[in-house]
Symmetry: C2
Subunit: 681 residues, 2 copies
């Protein structure tokens, strides 16, 4: 065959390129990509109008309204331009965290938490320990239901360092490190099997608060439902966070025993309300269901009363009581009993209408807004008035002897918004935004008192409603649950999409809609529909992207992402070897670099226990390798500098090709090796 037309001379060049560079445009290690590179404005081809002829044609062709055009231009992100905000969304029963850029509304990545996820190499050799630490009754769970992410705070504001998120399905809490966007810890709550899946950080992240949901006996021990009032309980758990170690300090964590009122969302106060926490409840009726027995179903039984109880917790007093040893242990975990709560003045109630879903703290830490769900109002509580009522003992008692403050004494205002108010966020102009589930709208209304001067609208009033599509649950404003909201955008986390998107079968995506809320008055504009078909976000927190300082690569070669330090066990280049430790144990030390693993041949005997170490010795941004082994459920994602270690038993003889799963270079397909399991003779 003629080879004249085959440029063999090119081989050296291409191979070289493949080995050394792999891909164009790498940043030096340690540098941070520069966001928002300004690009030169080109003179329009249509000087008078300011918009190009092409664009007008497209507008007509695609039948876009002027509002559509404005919305498109507000959200479009030219190649290389970075989003201004990052939204950390829960993903519901997908069990993860979803990171979305605003205003483009593009999913930048997910963070695997409770559910193994193989693209990130979570739970397939790496992260297994973390997942296993969250076992329920000794059984490893491989999914979770995430609802409320909680970013770590300093002086009440997001500091961009840690993210906490709970699992509603099993009452667990997770810690995510925002240096590498990976989950570092999962803890199982020893006294509860139900919570709302919320994580609320105190203003300096001393504690992460996890509130209960469905009443059950503490430690979910068996007790007949007939004993509901006496044996079933709720809880609020205070997880101590050790910022140095980046871990929940279980030893210094504790819980409050609460009546079985089905607590819902909690929120933490700051400023004047620093040291206090507020939570809803939805079943003070203490209804126990049983539709199959001819009784009303839960949905109506728990909705009979006009009010439930806002829980008002003095968590500093709780902390003190805990430190003074005033607790009992349940399943080994410190619990402050109802009696202690009463004695130490830790817990108060106030009536709240009516099976409400959310309680949200206004930016000044002065008002607590309860969204009525089955009541069309938001009810605004004044912290100052709460303190006065407590001081004046202006209360009655609930069946457990807990003080119930007088409603009129503690309520500042009530604003009627519409059907199905669920959650509230705030901006810096004195506006509040509440989701109306049944009206399928976002209501903008005004706070009063010190907020009145921030906007031209009358206080404590509904200003306008914008329809959303459809049936909104939560909503999120950048920094909207902190002392300093940045109310430029609002994301409506709608539950039903119905007809919004091309059909994809009977399981539809949700619809997250971006709104422009920068103006005053009723002027809120719908900007963008974002289908959400990889999970069901409930709440999300939105943070300015420049507050995050994630790594581009691990700081040094051999970095263990679990200890966040170099590991003494990590093989570096030159350390590659295969060592037989004993008759039944082999230890492998491997490195990965574009485009080969070393060693390429790994042989063990059938039945060997194999301990396998692998380090990526890359330094460049985006130079990620994957490593897998077929038949042993191993899949690692190895970022630049990262070290991983996994173990398994080579229980079946055979020849198993391993390869790099993450496309890394021109010769990525050739980045492979063989794992031989020889039969024992």
């Amino acid at each position: 065959m003629r080879t004249a037309c085959i440029r063999t001379a090119l081989l050296g060049t291409i191979l070289q390129a493949g080995l050394l560079a792999g891909c164009g445009g790498g940043e030096p290690s340690g540098s941070t990509a520069q966001p928002g590179t300004a690009r030169p404005v080109r003179t329009s081809t249509d000087g008078a109008a300011g918009l190009p002829v092409d664009a007008r044609k497209v507008m007509q062709e695609r039948n876009l309204s002027p509002d559509d055009v404005t919305a498109a231009l507000r959200t479009y992100m030219p190649s290389g331009r970075h989003d201004d905000f990052l939204m950390f969304a829960s993903s519901g029963h997908a069990g993860q965290v979803i990171v979305i850029g605003l205003p483009s509304m593009r999913i930048l990545r997910t963070i695997a938490v409770y559910t193994p996820e193989s693209w990130q190499g979570w739970g397939f050799g790496a992260g297994n320990d973390v997942i296993a630490a969250g076992a329920v009754d000794g059984k490893v769970m491989t999914w979770g239901d995430t609802h409320h992410p909680g970013l770590s705070r300093t002086k009440g504001e997001y500091d961009g360092q840690w993210l906490f998120i709970a699992d509603k399905a099993h009452a667990r809490m997770a810690v995510i490190d925002l240096r590498d966007f990976e989950t570092k810890q999962i803890v199982k709550n020893p006294i509860a099997i139900s919570d709302h899946g919320g994580a609320f950080a105190t203003p300096d992240t001393d504690y992460i608060i996890q509130g209960g949901q469905y009443g059950h006996p503490l430690a979910w021990e068996y007790a007949d439902i007939e004993e509901y009032d006496t044996r079933y309980r709720g809880h609020a758990t205070f997880w101590k966070f050790d910022r140095q170690r980046g871990r929940i300090d279980v030893e210094n964590s504790f819980a409050l025993e609460l009546p079985p009122y089905w607590q819902d969302l909690f929120q933490v106060g700051w400023g004047p309300s620093d040291g206090w926490s507020f939570g809803n409840s939805i079943n003070t009726e203490r209804y126990t269901g049983g539709i199959e027995k001819g009784r009303p179903p839960f949905e109506s039984g728990v909705s009979q009363s006009d009010t439930d109880y806002l829980h008002i917790i003095n968590w500093r007093a709780a902390e003190k009581a805990f430190r003074d040893g005033k607790f009992t242990r349940v399943n080994g975990f410190p619990v402050l009993t109802l009696d202690t709560l009463k004695k130490e003045n830790i817990l108060y109630f106030a009536p709240e209408p009516k099976s409400p879903h959310g309680v949200d703290v206004a930016p000044g830490g002065d008002f607590m807004v309860v969204s009525g769900k089955l009541d069309p109002h938001v009810t605004v509580y004044s912290f100052a008035k709460i303190q006065q009522a407590i001081a004046a003992k202006n209360w009655s008692l609930d069946p457990y002897g807990i003080p119930v403050l007088d409603f009129d004494a503690v309520v500042e205002a009530r604003v009627e918004l519409g059907l199905g108010p669920l959650h509230t966020q705030f901006d810096q102009q004195g506006y509040a935004y509440t989701s109306l589930f049944l009206d399928s709208a976002v209501a903008r209304w005004t706070l009063g008192g010190p907020y009145e001067k921030l906007n031209p609208d009358r206080p404590w009033s509904l200003i306008g409603k914008t329809p959303v599509h459809y049936n909104i649950g939560h909503l999120a404003v950048p920094h909207g649950d902190t002392p300093k909201p940045e109310g430029r955008y609002l994301v409506a986390l709608n539950k039903w999409s119905i007809d919004r998107f091309a059909p994809v079968g009977p399981l539809l995506p949700q619809n997250l809609q971006l709104l422009d809320i920068a103006n005053t008055g009723a002027n809120m504009k719908l900007l963008y529909d974002m289908p959400m078909g990889i999970g069901e976000p409930h709440y999300a927190q939105i943070i300015r992207a420049d507050l995050l300082k994630p790594w581009n690569a691990y700081p040094e070669i051999g970095w263990d992402p679990h200890t966040q330090a170099v590991s003494p066990h990590a093989p570096k280049q030159g350390d590659e070897k295969i060592v037989r430790r004993d008759e039944r144990t082999v230890e492998v030390f491997m490195t990965a670099i574009r485009s080969h693993f070393k060693p390429e041949h790994v042989e063990v005997l059938e039945g060997d226990r194999v301990i396998w170490h692998v380090t990526s010795v890359e330094r460049a941004l985006d130079a990620v390798h994957g490593f897998m082994l077929p038949g042993f459920n191993i899949m690692l994602s190895i970022e630049p500098g990262e070290y991983q270690r996994f173990e398994f038993t080579a229980d079946k003889a055979g020849v198993y090709p391993f390869y790099c799963t993450e496309f890394c270079s021109a010769l990525h397909l050739e980045m492979m090796g063989y794992f031989f399991v020889r039969p024992r003779s």
Copy 2:
């Protein structure tokens, strides 16, 4: 407490709304949402210019170029407008399929395949059987590496009914039903542990072809690497598809034993080349690696030769040989040996430069384009010339005695494009598009011969290159690998994003870029950057959305998605009950409707085996419920009408609240019940 301000009268209204409607805007069952509802064009506020003043301000404010504006307007989707195309993308080592709308480039949903996914309820009580059927050596794998989706075809064109996708990590094949976008079957290849993860449907979907990747002994039995040439093999497996049953018919499937040349991607011919299949190889050197022994690494050893072998398979002849019983069984599976391939004239080779990655068939089925990877050309083979060379026996023999056709006799043209050509797609204007990995660009070039008249450019020529960001792997044009491409758009599936997106840690997303290729000449425009941080798509197929006819709800109440028929076991309203079958077995029959489960109390004894049936008796579009049990790893997603059944052992006494995980109504939070496991006395 005063209740004057609490509108109790509203209770009835809201509760009613919550119970009966749940949410606004439901479509009647069975109807299909109407796509692309036209919206009235509003007169611009700036008549002469045609674009609103607001928009011009935004353009300046955000420093958008005219091209940016055009791109934004081409891709923006107003609320309720449906995408024109659906892209079914692989997700790499996430193990799933990702469904993306074009031109908006929004993820509509994922389809869980090889990796359990709890939002869709896949692998947590439902789908476990399907996943288990793909076990490797009796061990259930919970991840996969998906590379090449294959839509089912009729006369070579996408018919929108089925989607096939293979698992590169373990050599498996999956079948997805596009009526409900769910995985119905996973089969494990009995003779191979390595494949490329590709699924290629023959023109009428008689077979799905799965080609091998890394050479290993058949059935991955142990053999020393020294025996590579004699004991290690490749394969091409032909899975028979039974369209009636919607399943791979394993009994009528077979494989070809191939030399251990590391086959890569296969493609199937149509029209003149109907009955033939074409596949690459990358290691005809039969290099076996061993960098740790001082030998060159695989990446260079397998790249030494100027050419590898294009595999040319007469699959109709292979089918005939199989049906005539001319096979041997390996691990129980029918294999046509190398000898048979030779005797029955099934397999031919042609030299192809140089470790190529893709072979793509032109729309007329007349040319096969090989992208050179380490050679800067695409090499175009003529099927007519291949047939002539075969007839004339114009060949030499490879080491296994397989005919290697003369290169010059079968090549129609070679076009030099640039560095790192990987894959090619086509449009209806006679253009071809090839990804250039190292150049980080898409090359547009022209086919010749019968295609010459379709565009004004000269044939067999490079016309232009558009940079992409960065390092493109595959590319996809709507219907671009069929007889009738619709070349309006092209998606570049780029591997590295580097600086394109806000930093999210050391594991970056990929970047899928949408290009406008509707014009002629060199005019291709970059439209949209889509971050991809939930998996790593390799190839994708793009189909017109109107060709898909997914269900909005299951056709009847009690529908079993696995049999795609009503199940006799499915409880309907009135059938709810709990039945003790024996001392150790309890069977539960439950229904779900907004907003309650029935029964709400389920009690068993510790140690009971529990069989649980649940039917959603909903009919409305988007009325989905979730069902979970804590502590038993159960999470189901139950679409309207769907019936599911799961089993587990209630191995620990306690009280376990269950609840609906998918937000379904105003009283969603109240849609719960209790699972009691009473200690056995």
